[in-house]
Symmetry: C2
Subunit: 163 residues, 2 copies
DNA sequence: ACTATAAGTTCGATAATAAGACTTATCATA
DNA sequence: TATGATAAGTCTTATTATCGAACTTATAGT
């Protein structure tokens, strides 16, 4: 059966995962942020099957995260670029990178970091702050319902043990 | 052929995606943060196939993001709980939620937000700061190589157009 | 015209997911 | 202690996605 779509689920995480929750989309976006625009360059850098790449790029364009155009200098080339919605995923990639760098490299140390272009120093660890500017930890976080929440969702949040 | 493993790729993002880049793992972790611990409760809340859930939970335990134990009150129940590595993914989930809430709800508005437990107000938008505390935008970000970077990776970073 | 390049598409094999029935062990209760 | 219910997970079959490589089409360079 086809992969279940989470796009209809009323949850921002679920809808994001519906777009990003496969083995390739996130690293495609990473390369796009790096400046990769050509189909064959994605293939070369990622060693992704060409049909899979074509499917993922189509999905990203359909979802409005990327746009596709023709290279005006070379009519053979397609140019894939990030739309604003796709660019803003850089914060998600940073969160993934900081987590991966911390937990997925036993001794060798992480090979790459996002850094301040000026100082060349790694950016600070992401901090979550309240609207008053206080740094928050997980045990200070809860989930609240927005205007469009269903009664069932509100009921769940009222009985939450954590987060 | 089996899904290609990105676990060997020397990149924190790739290694994180290798664990999280499927349609279910992220929302499983979301529910675990909500306090869900029982197999059947994951099935009920997510409507995930039982065999898929079993596979994902096994993978999460193997990767050290969750632990599995027996309920001392009820010997039928397994208890799945997040290890520290899994708990720290809450920042990634927040980044996904903030992005999804912004881009995946046309008019209805987002149904749920992470909030400060004290004030019940949504947490502030994630900000990326330099080591000096300045807020950074995407165009101020570059990628730098760490100690374990390969020469090829360093070469790539030297020629980066952006990020 | 000829060759190379870029972007995809097509094909067959393998792996992952979906849906539901089924098994095993434990708990609650009569 | 026998009986039924519950929880966790397995098994089976059908469908879908991914992999890897070959192939097609259009454009560029010579």
């Amino acid at each position: 059966m086809r992969k279940k779509s989470l796009q209809a689920v009323p949850c921002g995480i679920a809808r994001a995962v519906d777009l990003l929750g496969d083995p390739w989309t996130v690293v495609i976006i990473r390369e796009a942020l790096f400046g990769i625009t050509a189909f064959d360059d994605f293939v070369k850098v990622l060693t992704i099957p060409r049909n899979t790449l074509a499917a993922r790029l189509d999905a990203l364009v359909s979802a409005g995260l990327m746009r596709k155009s023709r290279d005006t200098q070379d009519g053979r080339r397609s140019v894939y670029e990030l739309e604003p919605a796709g660019q803003e995923l850089w914060v998600v990639l940073l969160a993934l990178q900081q987590w991966g760098n911390k937990w997925c490299f036993d001794d060798e140390g992480a090979p790459s970091f996002m850094a301040d272009h000026g100082s060349k120093r790694p950016v600070g660890e992401l901090q979550v702050r309240s609207s008053d500017g206080d740094v928050l930890t997980l045990d200070q976080i809860t989930m609240i319902a927005g205007p469009s929440a269903t009664p069932e969702l509100e009921a769940r949040f009222r009985t939450l043990k954590k987060v």
